[in-house]
Symmetry: C2
Subunit: 376 residues, 2 copies
């Protein structure tokens, strides 16, 4: 066994007072997960919550690592896909955690992508009023987004992520090597969230992405740098606003439109996956900002060029199947949780790296923008 510390290439602290934790980023970390967990919580019992795909690809490797460290573990496998973020699957996971007689101080390992992280994290949040958990995210999206910040939850028939809790992990282990088995489309979708941080408030990072995307997509060392910078960016924003009372809402850049698009496709991953929705949503946020005379057309074009270069969709027309109508999308937007006292709250932008929260966006402007966007 090689030295664990040598495999950790970067540790990002998330400063949340008594709920602070660290994100370890490196190569081949799953093989060392047992040792790392053992150092954190000697003798703890582990419940690995994972999905069919991740379990098949990496489950044995994680279990061997836990066994090697002398840790007792159980595996709770759920179906891969967004449909597992349901109250039914949540009930199954929680019942299993209880039946295993795990205690508050035992450890739930959320081992998978964003769906598993949200589901397992929420199950940990509500089992015995809060069990400890580690995030071991296996998709690029989860590594740079959902594993940082403690948002956990499931979907309701009325909308995405409407049921959930803020529950911070005790630690996050990001093994970039697992991304080698991630489907190219998933990797690309995750990259949309990486680019998002540049668009929000780190224009230099966006410049660097424009230079480095080839190396990132080739899994070279730039990938570790991109993930680390993304985690640092998110950690900084979250630390300033843990429960999304203010600035944290910036992280929703592209998400109000994105969620509406996911809603209209019925969360059908064959048509649209989350990061793709975010890519289109970010594009629309820039176009809408330009239409409102907030953002220069050059920035809009520059973003479109970069997203297209890496192969991401940039308009609703890129989604296969029927186009939605304006009313359907407005219905999803109104139900989105970023609505406050009836006024629409959007993340708009003054240009690349200059996003801001606009809490007074007239619904009529959004509606007429959507109409034009759809007619293109």
């Amino acid at each position: 066994m090689t030295n664990t510390a040598a495999n950790i290439q970067c540790t990002v602290p998330v400063e949340l007072g008594e709920r602070s934790y660290a994100i370890d980023i490196g190569r081949n970390l799953i093989e060392h997960a047992g040792t790392m967990i053992s150092e954190f919580a000697p003798g703890t019992k582990c419940a690995i919550v994972t999905d069919t795909n991740v379990n098949a690809a990496h489950g044995d490797s994680l279990r061997a690592s836990l066994s090697g460290a002398g840790l007792e573990y159980h595996t709770i496998e759920v179906a891969a896909g967004e449909a597992s973020k349901s109250s039914e699957t949540l009930g199954i996971v929680v019942d299993k955690l209880l039946a295993l007689r795990l205690e508050r101080s035992d450890l739930v390992l959320a081992f998978g992508g964003g769906v598993v992280g949200d589901l397992a994290g929420f199950a940990a949040a509500i089992t015995r009023r809060g069990m400890r958990f580690f995030q071991i995210p296996t998709s690029l999206l989860a590594q740079v987004d959902s594993s940082v910040g403690g948002k956990t939850g499931i979907n309701s028939t009325l909308g995405k992520n409407l049921i959930g809790a803020f529950h911070q992990p005790s630690r996050v282990l990001i093994d970039v090597d697992v991304l080698k088995t991630l489907p190219e489309r998933e990797f690309r979708a995750g990259y949309a969230e990486v680019a998002k941080y540049g668009l929000i408030k780190y224009p230099d990072f966006f410049d660097w992405l424009e230079q480095s995307h080839t190396q990132i997509f080739a899994h070279e060392s730039a990938l570790v740098d991109a993930i680390a910078k993304s985690c640092r960016a998110k950690a900084e924003i979250v630390a300033a606003d843990e429960t999304e009372a203010g600035q944290r809402a910036l992280l929703n850049l592209g998400h109000t439109f994105g969620h509406a698009l996911e809603g209209y496709t019925g969360y059908d991953g064959a048509r649209l996956i989350h990061g793709e929705g975010v890519a289109i949503g970010m594009m629309m946020a820039h176009e809408f900002s330009n239409r409102m005379n907030l953002c220069a057309i050059d920035d809009v074009d520059r973003l479109r060029h970069h997203l297209k270069t890496v192969g991401l969709p940039t308009s609703i027309g890129d989604i296969p199947g029927d186009k939605p109508n304006v009313e359907t999308l407005m219905g999803f937007i109104a139900q989105d949780k970023k609505v406050k006292r009836g006024a629409l709250t959007f993340i708009l932008t003054n240009g690349i790296g200059k996003a801001y929260i606009a809490d007074d966006v007239p619904a009529s402007e959004v509606s007429s923008f959507l109409k034009d966007h759809l007619s293109k």
Copy 2:
């Protein structure tokens, strides 16, 4: 309308940093709830979560008060009784809150006893990752126990309160006048939790209860004093240990045995209600402590005398129906959440007002104590 402030006889602060809140205790407060809510959150929408009994007795009074203050409200009624602390009822309440398009800053009013408080509080905790809520407890038990401290949750088939969250209310309104319509048996059961505070660490309060119980049961001003002292005691213990990492466990005095007894009766309120289980459990904790040479027999006898004086049960034999066997009770005890790494944790006592946490109680001693207790 009379002056609101004049009706508040006492305000108990619960000091929890950014989650601090106040408990207002007084007479005729429901008539003033609208004004009080309006001052706290002008223009908020309210979702009254209540049960059939409380809604029939006091719902119109609360609604009139909200209307009078110009507040929009909706009522979500659940069946009275412990069975409503289920994932099914939780799902119905959450879906209703979402369908009403209430926002995070809108207000859930938990208007009822402990069941409604736990259920509505948990629904508020997980809807949109945390809505604000007020507790307006209508049973003595809820007023002195579940409305203070932020424990919310539902039952699992594997045990009581195993699914839930810590979610602090924004405020608690305790109207002692609603207790006049509370069934005598419920009032008495709530009194068991009042007495518990004396037993834990306030021996003077227990002395005072021995002197004042007649006035308390007659709803005289001593009742306000008893509730205020109970809330202060609980607030003090909770403030020192919000998530039950340490001293807060003292509040579980009588609860490990009590929960096991509720479990064996299948939560059949005709046989045993929570406060009665706690009364028997507190008695058993004192008897067991005496058996372990920790507590003088005089204190055991003094407690038994007081509980009997106010009409509370003091032994398993007082529960109507078949007696449980030792194995059944031990099974419930082992599943209780106060188990840590296999060793049994109990709240034991060195005498009245001298409870402490014992985390190394041998299961064999408990088992043999139960055998003797059951054979009496």
